[in-house]
Symmetry: C2
Subunit: 336 residues, 2 copies
């Protein structure tokens, strides 16, 4: 018997066995694509959904171009405690630019940013934040800003773990991104964070190219400087991609409704609502930060990543709520 | 000698021949991927560019994720004469909605739109256009608008050829889109036309999914109507994706500079300028409408698709100017 005949016989045999034995929760033979997810209801709900929309014989089969999955970033893909990473960047930028602006020492909200008076800074509210954003995130070209972000991310370290921020991403979510992509999904980030802050590193860290990164953005101005075309970042806001701004960002950038949405806070509520209200099989998931030992524990009362109304809605809407403590065997990728 | 050995010998032989003989302008053996393009400088410049950025040994090799190509729509991918298709749609919508608005018969710019007084309509300018757009392109959900566009495109016919508008696309450009995609390019539309007007059919007609269609867009509002989430189209403008708005749209949506840009009018000048000013191999192309017999002939003086300043800049910037008359063997796809 030639080896080709042997392979053919084995294939037929496997196909026959497949008809008799129940499938292993939709995961094909081979290594578990979600090894950092502990077995349980959360992991099973993910695998069941992917199986439902990708098995060709499924009544809820979804063609590849419509397999759109959207992910919040802060608190969903990477750590947002003890402060949003972009907020740390912003304050570092104020400090870096301060020598050129001696008046900032006497002017709010710059003075609070420079002295680390976080409470006073928070009290300055969205108007204070807008002033700081205008001073640090506008007035330069997009390319200059990209270089600044990349350089900062190389050297900045998380205050409690000492790791680079790019290493403070959630290993189970990296596996989930890869698992969905291997099943024909196109993965997008839909974040309240700045689009120009995420795009420089999202491809390297998450495998998500810039054109699949949606975030809050400012207006841009095209201009020629000494005959060289540039795109200047203006201080005017284009979109705040948070809460009800998320479905708006999704429609504007993607132009079709996702079939799966992943978040962790009330800022993601409308995104999950919009996604899961569509026809056919839909999937909504909330990461619940309940692991004070390995990460942080926070939800209804938290100033950062508050999860309150969305947690209630998860019950009625059928969204999967992931317990970081129970569902994740590992939180962060191993140190290199 | 087994057939496997034969194949191996043939492969080695072909590789050796490849080292000796000059490549056929970069097109691999097999059928010509651009059969509707006549041999000549324009076709050669396209093939040479694709070869330059995709051959791994090339000093100007571009990795797949950075192979971004942007295409204008009106006049570049489909016919824009004797009127922009979206303008025809707009006037048809005014007529369809008029019975519910008896006052329109006496009110400008609606009266001119209803009576077909095109000159008076043009005289109403951008303020008149904004009024008509607000009445026909806003005040409904995105899903409702999508259905309206799709239904209209099914029945509307081009006034001089009697063909559906989706058949008034340029066969050579369809081949070019497919040729670029087969070489790892991601193709985007970047049009002054409405994003919500193009997305319903761009995937079927051009193979370009909604998330790769960039156009002018209005603001959206997320709202719950009887507990059902909807995205309402508002009359406020988000971006006019034309002239200097094109590089802005490209940066906002794609987040990196394309390496190839295709247009046909002064509205595309900044897009080509921004694209070809980047480092490494770059490609800019203008479709010149000079074929009065098979299509239309217009450029510097045309009210629609004026090509004046961009035509001059093509010379200094090294953009390819395609003569529809001489470079294209076929204009439209064969009738089905």
């Amino acid at each position: 018997m030639t080896s080709l005949t042997l392979i053919a016989r084995r294939t037929v045999l496997c196909a026959l066995i497949g008809l008799v034995l129940p499938p292993r929760a939709g995961i094909a033979d081979g290594p578990d694509p979600l090894p950092s997810w502990r077995e349980g209801a959360s992991k099973a709900s993910i695998v069941r959904f992917v199986e439902t929309v990708t098995r060709e014989s499924s009544p809820e089969f979804v063609p590849v171009p419509e397999r759109i999955a959207v992910f919040d970033n802060d608190g969903t893909l990477w750590c947002e405690q003890p402060a949003y990473v972009q907020e740390v960047f912003l304050i570092d930028r104020v400090k870096a630019l301060a020598p050129k602006h001696p008046e900032w020492k006497e002017t709010e909200p710059f003075a609070s940013a420079l002295s680390g008076a976080r409470k006073r800074l928070t009290a300055a509210g969205s108007k204070g934040a807008a002033t700081l954003l205008a001073a640090t995130h506008a007035g330069m070209t997009v390319e200059e800003f990209t270089l600044t972000v990349s350089a900062w991310l190389e050297t900045a370290r998380h205050p409690t773990t000492g790791r680079p921020y790019a290493a403070m991403v959630y290993q189970p979510m990296l596996e989930l991104l890869a698992y969905l992509r291997s099943h024909g999904f196109k993965t997008f980030i839909v974040s309240g964070g700045g689009i120009d802050f995420m795009r420089p590193w999202a491809e390297k860290v998450y495998g998500i190219p810039p054109e699949q990164v949606i975030g809050s953005y400012g207006k841009l101005k095209y201009e020629l400087v000494d005959g060289k075309p540039d795109l200047l970042k203006l201080p005017e806001i284009g979109l705040i991609d948070d809460h009800a701004g998320k479905p708006v960002g999704i429609q504007t950038f993607i132009g079709r409704r996702p079939i799966a949405a992943f978040g962790n806070s009330d800022g993601d509520r409308e995104m999950l609502e919009w996604t899961t209200a569509g026809p056919g099989a839909r999937f909504g998931l909330l990461v619940h930060h309940d692991d004070a030992e390995r990460e942080w524990a926070y939800d209804r009362q938290s100033a950062i990543g508050r999860l309150d109304r969305a947690l209630d809605q998860a019950k009625t809407a059928g969204w999967t709520v992931v317990s970081m403590k129970n569902d994740w065997g590992v939180i962060f990728p191993p140190s290199k």
